[in-house]
Amino acid sequence: MSVRVLAFFDTRYQSSPDIQRLGGGTDPWRPLLDARPVSRQHFALNMPSTLGRYDLTDQAALARVVGMAIQAGIDGFVVDLRWAGDGYVTGSQVLAPACSDTFGLAFRWRNGDEPFWKAPAAPEQRLERARNLVAALKVGTATAADGRTLLIVDSPKDLALPADTIALLQREARRGGLAGLYVVAHRAEDKGRFLSNGFDALIDPGPADWHSCPPNNRTSGLDFLEVMAGLKDSVEYLDKFFPYLLFAVSRMINREQRGKAFPRVFPSFYNWAQYPDGGATHLVNQGNRAIETYWYGLFMENAMLFAHQAFPANERFVFLESWNGWLDGSQVEPSLLDGDLVYNATRDAIDRGRYVIRTREIAPTGGLDEQLKARIALLVEAAQNLS
């Protein structure tokens, strides 16, 4: 099986009652329309073009959204799963009719916003909450990872009893009629022994959560004083600016040392709209450009090749941030400022990645047995020490 590309998808762009429970306002597009940069160093947020400011409850609009994603080679969406006080909500019911065997849903559990799992609780309460969670996953066609529904745990460190929680969710999933869960921890590396706590894999955190290289703007006390004196733009002190290419390469280098971690690819990123008081993350190309499709395309293509080489056949994923993350500039959907540049770059990169994978699949390697691999690793380590 080729590598599957799953795009993070914000389901809040809908007018159903769910939107309130998901934390959106009456007009889900309003935050985008209202956002204004407070610095000349903030890239302007983009606006939708081809697909417009859609309402996902409109079946025709939904069909266009999913149709364009499929055309780009995207295999499914990752939707957020949130506790809404009386149950879990994903907003993905509207997506269910568009799902198929070749386009499915995966879930990102926003457990960090949910105090319940941060502390021990009575077994019956945990059981009820787990059943609730599993029920919310039974929407549309799930993206099968090793035959199971894919669930990303957004804040694995916030689980008070991670191994027990994962085991409980697995039990309830199977009791609820699912084949099980493929649980992915949102972590850059397996330093917290996530994989031995029942997680099946890791996923690289997003750009805001993992600054993979030093920022361009390393501020000093003098900068602080100049900002205070009104001599310098405060975002230079408060926000962080990273060179896109180095940021991306730093995420992909030496991956073999990080455990089984799925790559997360993003065309651009600047989340100042979510940090009005400073602290935003900005990725910058060539000093002043928000997007450079050449490097983005290579990021996507090479991430796919890496996934193909590194993971078992049914567990080869690349995560794309994002399909419609308009508020952090990561959207792939066609836009007013970029037209279909990013969309086309995505489709081209996925096409290229799949082509190369196809040329490599004609002669799958038998692989070496684990004993021989371990022997080679020992020899290399010894040779490194000698050199």
Partner: protein, 484 residues
């Protein structure tokens, strides 16, 4: 971005067809992306697609492949009618559209390879010679293409000097057609005289074309030894010039001028020469250079299964020695520091392999002898062949020895890729071939100096020793039954 209209004069029906340069899917609305194909080769391909898609059409309107045009736009330009044959150009002389009779594609398509696609006057006269009819040249006053850039968003690698080459060759073709009554029998010659790896790729491609458009290949005479063993189906025309230096001290168009002088009038007058050095960026598409060359030589490559990369290799051979002790030959010096396999990796690989009882030879690297390798000299093709034949597996960088060993000798080979891509220059995966790299997002940078990301002299995209050793052992197990 590659477009055309099919017109049927009977019912005045018009059908528009838009194609794009394929990124790998080779869908029905995509055309293979070949860097070695001049713009006119795409014009031929568009003609083939239109003829197939619109069997009733008798006139084909083909947009200049150098321009990003859509069928709707060109239909608008000719809505008031235009005779056939004709060329519609911008307000000066840059061709926008070719309006051509279908029969041209059925019985004379190869002559369309001679079109400059950059000068309507030259192309009109050339078409008149081929068709024996008057060709109308109309200008579209509101469009001015201006100075064509060196590199375009659609992947063209051109510039005005390179386009002068296309004009010179088209003008030469006119001279042949107008001066030689037997011009239809004049052979077509590929102009791609260097470098060594490219000669190997063209030779391999020439053996793998079902409808060849070319008979000859202009090649630097310094590559005679390579041609002698490469089994090309193209007859060589020797160019007695050293190959183009890689330090950019001589421009490709300037070299071309010198090449025509050196080839002499007789050769130039007795061959339709087609420029097949790079017209497009090699890395724009994902395809292998051998497939680029196959398309250039006439193969349509319109379906994924036609790609050489997914087929069995053309040649396959292996070492006759016993599998034990396993012998591996390395060529890991790329001429530029950024292309070399990193020194620390090489030391560890040599030492580890020696520790497994595997004999390692390295071409031209006495500095690795303290780490368990044996340095050998193999700077001539025959020495290389001889050295390879004494080893079970060859490990090479993206350079001539690798391409030769894989595509001419068919030897079990592992390709190491750093700044360039295996998909463009590798060998086609099968039991006898693997390419290795670590798929960094900067790959391929194509860098020839320092690493553009880290500023180092070495490339971080090379596979680490552990992966390399695993690949060697795995291939040895598969091909030779080796046991570690």
């Amino acid at each position: 971005m590659l477009t055309g209209l099919a017109l049927a004069s009977s019912g005045a029906r018009t059908a528009g067809f838009d194609f794009s340069f394929s990124k790998g899917a080779l869908a029905p609305n995509e055309i293979f992306d070949s860097a070695t194909s001049p713009p006119a080769r795409y014009l031929v391909e568009l003609g083939r697609r239109l003829v197939k898609a619109a069997p009733a059409a008798d006139v084909l309107v083909i947009a200049n492949p150098l321009l990003p045009l859509k069928a709707q736009q060109i239909a608008d330009w000719i809505k008031d009618g235009i005779p056939c044959p004709a060329i519609l150009s911008d307000e000066k002389d840059f061709p926008l559209l070719y309006i051509l009779p279908r029969r041209l594609f059925e019985d004379s398509e190869r002559f369309l390879l001679l079109l400059s696609t950059v000068d309507a006057g030259i192309d009109a006269r050339l078409l008149e010679g081929v068709l024996g009819d008057k060709v109308t040249w109309r200008r579209l006053p509101q469009i001015r293409i201006g100075s064509y850039p060196v590199s375009t968003a659609t992947g063209w690698f051109q510039g005005s000097d390179r386009q002068k080459v296309l004009k010179v060759l088209a003008a030469n073709a006119i001279k042949i057609i107008e001066g030689n009554p037997h011009w239809r029998d004049v052979p077509f010659a590929v102009y791609h005289p260097y470098h060594a790896g490219s000669i190997v790729f063209f030779a391999a491609a020439s053996r793998d074309v079902s409808t060849p458009l070319f008979q000859r290949h202009i090649i630097c005479s310094t590559y005679k030894d390579i041609v002698a063993v490469s089994d090309s189906r193209l007859e060589p025309i020797w160019l007695k010039l050293p190959w183009l230096p890689r330090d950019a001290s001589v421009g490709e168009p300037q070299y071309f001028g010198a090449a025509l002088d050196r080839l002499g009038e007789d050769v130039v007058a007795s061959n339709f020469i087609v420029f097949m050095r790079y017209s497009r960026n090699t890395g724009y598409g994902p395809f292998h250079l051998i497939d680029h060359d196959r398309f250039s030589l006439g193969e349509s490559l319109d379906r994924p299964e036609k790609i050489r990369q997914v087929q069995a290799p053309l040649v396959s051979a292996k070492c006759k020695l016993a599998a034990q002790p396993l012998k591996v030959l390395f060529h890991i010096t790329g001429g530029l520091p950024i292309k070399n396999y990193p020194l620390d990796y090489a030391k560890v690989a040599c030492r580890s392999l020696a520790g497994m009882g595997i004999e390692v030879s390295v071409i031209g690297r006495p500095d690795l002898e303290p780490y368990g390798a044996r340095s050998i000299e193999a700077d001539e093709t025959d020495l290389l062949s001889e050295a390879v034949s004494r080893h079970h597996i060859f490990v090479g960088l993206d350079s001539f020895p690798h391409h030769f060993v894989r595509n001419v000798m068919g030897w079990p080979t592992i390709g190491l890729f750093g700044t360039t891509t295996a998909t463009n220059f590798g060998g086609g995966w099968n039991a006898h071939y693997r390419s290795l790299d670590v798929s960094l997002p900067c790959h391929p940078c194509g860098g020839e100096r320092d690493c553009p990301v880290f500023g180092r002299k070495e490339c971080s995209n090379y596979a680490k020793p552990q992966e390399l050793i695993a690949a060697i052992v795995e291939m040895a197990q598969q091909v030779y039954g080796f046991t570690a």
